[in-house]
């Protein structure tokens, strides 16, 4: 059972991490398109997979939602911004690809070429 006691433990751990890290110091910002087009294409489980994996690995990553990214046929779309604001756009993302993005890109800094928009528009 999920108890409020457990929530308090998670809260205290989060506070500890917040003081350890410089405030707002994140390695990556991940943005998921969550307009109707994205949601209809399956963006909800993609977002939630990203949130879950980031939580599980305690990664210094911010996951955010946005509206239509403007390429409805390629939704679900996930954009990864690094510290220098360099953007990688992943398209037609599903939960498996989302897990790969966390493991390979967010944890090991590797751009997964075959999932990127550049690969699809070639």
């Amino acid at each position: 059972m999920k108890s409020l006691e457990e929530l308090k433990r998670i809260r205290d751990q989060a506070k500890e991490r917040m003081t350890m890290r410089e405030n707002g110091d994140h390695d990556y910002r991940v943005v998921v398109g969550m307009a109707t087009c994205g949601i209809a294409a399956g963006a909800r489980p993609v977002l939630n997979t990203l949130v879950e994996e980031v939580a599980r690995e305690h990664l210094p990553v911010t996951v955010m939602q946005t509206g239509c990214i403007g390429m409805c046929a390629l939704e679900p779309i996930v954009e990864v911004f690094d510290k220098d604001n360099h953007k990688t756009t992943y398209v037609l993302v599903d939960t498996k690809k989302a897990k790969d993005i966390v493991l390979r890109h967010l944890m090991h800094g590797e751009v997964i070429e075959e999932y990127t928009v550049g690969h699809y528009s070639k």
Binding site: L7, I10, R44, E52, V54
Partner: protein, 177 residues
Amino acid sequence: MQEIAMTILDIAQNSIRACAKLIQIVIRDSHKDNIIHIECLDDGCGMDDKTLQKVTDPFYTTRTTRQIGLGIPMFKESVEATGGWFSIESQKGVGTKIIGEYVKNHLDTPPMGNIAETLITLIQYDDHIDYVFQYICDDFEWVLNTKEIKDILDGVPINQPDIILWLKDYIKEGMQK
């Protein structure tokens, strides 16, 4: 939308776009009364009469060039196809209330889907928006009020990944009690 949970996400996203600070979602799922009653109430910017007219007029929907139809007419159509009913009330500067009631055992009534995923998706979006979620079935009633959760969190944002993860299981368990 294939699931009621997706429809709720779509309808509540309208409330977010309308700058709501408090969004109340009610699901009453009753075998006894053979209904699935969905309610979404917000304190967002509301609609003037002209918009309200357009948003409920099916003729207006068929004329749009969008790939995916407007969320509200789709919701209305979907509940009415099951013999249920739909209502929308809105007042500029006050807020909006949308109700859709499905006939539970009708063949065209979509499955409930993953309500927990829908709620955490909404909560994850912006930690400044509060939600009261009420789930009522024949045997019990369960309420989630994000303000109460935030009191416990004591300043830690509710949309932190590990808190979202806890919430997901908390909601799942709450709806099964």
